[in-house]
């Protein structure tokens, strides 16, 4: 049984044009990993191997990069990714209350996935929204100037 390839012909073409931006094609690794993760859901060993083969580097090199950067993950997550900032400016504005409310309401801890609605919760470091805290990021979209009630409502709306 042959597994379907993650890097389709279309993707390879897209990635070739990314490689052309740099004097060394390996430099396209981070943008490629972002794209593969978005499509495949995570960067498992198979994805890492395919990307390594495409760039002409080793799977070990790619693994080293995937495990270094906090935004890359090797395992699948829930349908949505919810990241609550816990760093200093947000903490001063009560990000701990916001996180606690989410944990209570959806019975989920940071690092865990809940089922209804399906999201993975994480507590993250500074997102560069310091003047507009507390804040959380849902699937890459910034939600700022939150309070616990607003945050819970936004996550409730993910069910829709």
């Amino acid at each position: 049984m042959s597994e379907q390839t993650i890097l389709t012909a279309e993707l390879r073409q897209e990635f070739e044009s990314l490689c052309e931006r740099y004097p060394d094609r390996k430099a396209a690794l981070l943008p490629i990993l972002h794209r593969v993760q978005a499509i495949h859901g995570c960067l498992d060993r198979r994805a890492q191997q395919e990307v390594a083969d495409f760039l002409g580097t080793s799977a070990v090199e790619v693994h080293g990069v995937v495990t270094f950067y906090p935004m890359f993950r090797e395992k699948p997550i829930g349908k949505h990714l919810v990241s609550v900032c816990k760093n200093i400016s947000c903490d001063l504005m009560g990000s701990d209350n916001l996180l606690a409310a989410i944990q209570r309401k959806f019975a989920v801890q940071p690092g865990e996935t809940c089922t209804d609605p399906s999201f993975t919760l994480e507590a993250v470091q500074c997102q560069g929204a310091c003047g507009y805290g507390p804040m959380m990021v849902v699937d890459g979209h910034y939600h700022e100037n939150l309070d616990a009630a607003k945050a819970v409502q936004i996550l409730e709306d993910l069910k829709a």
């Binding site: 931006r21 004097p23 060394d24 390996k26 430099a27 396209a28 690794l29 981070l30 943008p31 990993l33 972002h34 760039l55 580097t57 090199e61 080293g64 990069v65 270094f68 950067y69 906090p70 935004m71 890359f72 816990k86 760093n87 200093i88 400016s89 903490d91 001063l92 504005m93 993250v124 470091q125 500074c126 997102q127 560069g128 929204a129 310091c130 003047g131 507009y132 805290g133 990021v137 890459g140 979209h141 910034y142």
Partner: protein, 441 residues
């Protein structure tokens, strides 16, 4: 001197303060946009631009405050090699959110400033390294880059000359250390973001081993107003050693947090009380991190300090990114320090053992003090630990940056730490800062 902050020119944000400005190419050009880029390519020599920026006194806005013109002058002339300009939009220093304003609201200013900077250092390729979380800011930049190509402002044979310029954005992936310039180059090359030992310096051996300059977003953005208004106009704002304006990002317990373009040398007290409408809920100011967490904190009595490189250095801290984090009287300094220790522990790249172990150990000590389990010797251990990981013992400045909030928290709020230790150890008679008494062997 000291113009009031209201009357000070807005070199960077003048357009943003107008109603309805959307930052499109048409709007930007209607406001004189890309005229300085055209002028640079068609009628100025790179050396003239470097001299102009030297004369302006512009200093880097990414944290270190290094003179920009001097940095540019380190690039080799006629090297025959490709030169690169890397624009640092990693913006991950806690309390720092000012570059995002330019990326989202006026991306063409960033592009024009970067283009002028690249011309000055002989670079025909620019990579703008944008932190991975900044998805929307990067989209804004990418859209602006496309507009600029379509208008013939980027690409080959610009303005009828032989000059060419390509600009690409490049995403990071959530690692704070990649804002360190050599780690940024490693990351750009597709590697783990491990800082490189220096020397060699980037101007000689940078990205892919080629001459490279790394500048912050706000730094390059200033190239346009300096060309447009001249070095003298730039110097007429700010202080002698810190000329110009600075984007001050204010967060924490003020009524109106946000990003404000202010003259260098504005007092912190003015920023808090007048620019930001005072403290939230009428509380008193307790302390503030001056320019991002890694610059260290000062107590309320130091709020008369002015935001320029010399003045803050005299108080033992640094200007950094001018990300001012304001804390009111109800704030626990121990908690704030623990939140930051958690951050530094998470973000150390792990190459140097002093840093890798030092961050985790610091976090553990602060955590147990906060939770009422502090040991009588903890403050001495913590101080020793800081001594042992800071002071230039590591490849990059990360550990020294982490030492600043730790050291200043211990220095200015000693009694708060001692009180926590004393509460955890009611049998203690004396000050916990003393060496624990040993009974002899």
């Amino acid at each position: 001197m000291s113009q009031s902050f209201q009357d000070s020119p807005k070199f960077l944000t003048e357009r943003l303060l107008r109603d309805g400005y959307g930052g499109t190419l048409a709007e930007y050009r209607a406001a004189g946009g890309y005229e300085q880029w055209r002028r640079a390519v068609t009628s100025l020599q790179p050396a003239e631009i470097i001299d102009l920026v030297k004369d302006s006194g512009l200093r880097g806005r990414g944290g270190a405050g290094f003179p920009t013109g001097l940095k540019w002058s380190f690039m080799p002339k006629d090297s025959g090699k490709p030169h690169y300009l890397l624009v640092n939009s990693d913006e991950s220093e806690p309390g720092t959110f000012k570059d995002r304003l330019l990326l989202e609201k006026d991306p063409h200013l960033v592009l024009e400033g970067a283009a002028i900077s690249a011309f000055a250092i002989g670079a025909r390729t620019i990579y703008i390294y944008v932190r991975g979380e900044y998805v929307y800011p990067r989209e804004c930049l990418d859209r602006a880059i496309q507009e600029a190509y379509e208008a013939g402002l980027l690409g080959q044979k610009l303005f009828g000359t032989d000059w060419s310029l390509d600009i690409y954005t490049h995403p990071g992936a959530g690692a704070y250390i990649c804002g360190e310039e050599t780690a940024l180059m490693e990351s750009l090359e597709g590697k783990r973001g491990h800082p490189r030992p220096k020397p060699p310096f980037p101007a000689g051996y940078g990205a892919w081993g080629q001459p490279t300059t790394i500048n912050n977003v706000e730094t390059v953005a200033n190239a346009r107003p300096i060309l447009e208004h001249g070095a003298g106009a730039f110097r007429s704002v700010g202080t002698k050693n810190s000329p110009g304006t600075i984007l001050v990002g204010v967060s924490g317990h003020v009524n109106r947090p946000g990003v404000y373009e202010l003259p260098m040398g504005v007092p912190v007290r003015t920023v808090v009380d007048q620019v930001c409408g005072g403290m939230r809920n009428g509380k008193a100011l307790k302390a503030f991190y001056v320019g991002g967490s890694s610059t260290g904190l000062l107590p309320a009595k130091d709020a008369d300090v002015t935001l320029d490189h010399d003045a803050v250095r005299e108080r033992g801290v640094m200007l950094g990114t001018a990300g001012l984090i304001v804390m009111d009287e109800d704030t626990s300094i121990i908690r704030a320090t623990r939140v930051l220790a958690d951050f530094y522990d998470h973000e150390t790249c792990g190459q140097c053992s002093q840093c890798r172990v030092g961050m985790e150990w610091s976090y553990q000590i602060i955590r147990r003090i906060e939770e009422g389990r502090g040991h009588p010797s903890d403050l001495k251990t913590f101080a020793d630990l800081i001594q042992n990981f800071s002071g230039g013992k590591t490849i990059c400045a990360f550990a020294d940056g982490a030492a600043m909030p730790f050291k200043t928290a211990l220095l200015h709020f000693r009694e708060e730490w001692e009180e926590a230790i004393r509460r955890a150890n009611p049998q203690m008679a004396d000050s916990p800062s003393e060496e624990p008494q040993t009974a002899g062997t």
